[in-house]
């Protein structure tokens, strides 16, 4: 009988205890969705051996060769080769391409002249470029040209 009484008291206390801690709460659910797209970014950097770019570190830089001639002085970073019939000026320029959120290992870099040039021949990385169409080559990320 004594055990029954003790058990009953314990049960009653448990009920009171659970009632005391019971409290009203409210729940809300906010579902969140998004799609992360991969992206690549290109910037031009001045090359240590080339002409200093205006706007280096951006995707809209300017490379100014300055005054060039077959035999006169040329600016810093300008390399000149002269033959009997023509001369070529060139400068190293770095193109940095970085990727985010993509498993892609390579990219294709193409170049195209902004306007037709009937007098001079242009090359980028050894590839002839005109204003007619983009020409380029496949590269790995973070390569410099």
């Amino acid at each position: 009988m004594r055990k029954v009484v003790l058990l009953t008291i314990f049960a009653a206390l448990m009920m009171i205890s659970s009632a005391a801690v019971a409290q009203t709460t409210a729940n809300g659910t906010l579902t969140v969705t998004a799609t992360v797209n991969g992206s690549i970014q290109l910037v031009f950097n001045s090359d240590a051996a080339g002409v200093a770019l205006t706007g280096s570190g951006t995707n809209a830089a300017t490379l100014a060769f300055g005054n060039v001639s077959a035999f006169g002085a040329v600016g810093a970073g300008v390399v000149r080769t002269t033959t009997a019939t023509n001369f070529t000026v060139s400068s190293a320029v770095d193109v940095q391409v970085s990727k985010t959120n993509s498993a892609s290992a390579n990219y294709t870099l193409t170049a195209q002249l902004g306007a037709a040039d009937a007098v001079n021949a242009w090359t980028v990385g050894g590839t002839p470029v005109t204003n007619a169409s983009a020409a380029g080559q496949r590269n790995r990320y973070q390569q410099h040209h």
């Binding site: 009653a12 009920m15 005391a20 409210a26 992360v36 992206s39 959120n101």
Partner: protein, 180 residues
Amino acid sequence: MRFVLPLLLFGSSLMTNGWAQRKGSSKRTSTAISMKSETEGTISVNFVSAPDGAALTGGASGQRSLNLGTVSNASGAQIPNVQVQKLPGRFVVTTRFGMSIQNGSQHATSAAVLAALAVPDTAYTFRLDGIALETVPQLVQGQARIGPTIMHRLEIEVPTSLTEKNSQLHNAIIFQVIPN
């Protein structure tokens, strides 16, 4: 036994009429149902779109969806009021939303707000008002005022090392509000 039975009856009355059941409620089908009715009838959570946040869509006021659209490190966000901040090795997508706590009959003027992620997410980091969220509820506000809409800032940190495999972000934030 003569003394125990009244004690049991007293305890039982605390369980039903004292705390766990709404006064005057005509539903007396079971204790469990009555407790649920109490929960829903006295306090509730409502989500609303923030003026400077992404639009919430769908569902009841306490169960809304927040679609942040397409985001990328280079192009940012595509939908209004979603910001993208570039950081080394990651970018952070941010928006705001409003949440209000309504209290029908109780006298509490403030409540504790806890938040947790519905499912673990190892790819993205969710932060609510600067507090990193996990599947274990985190205290977001200890004394949130009941009544007015309070704006919250949601940030999702996206490592730039994630690839197309993890491009779909889908989770839910479960809020729990406990009156003080």
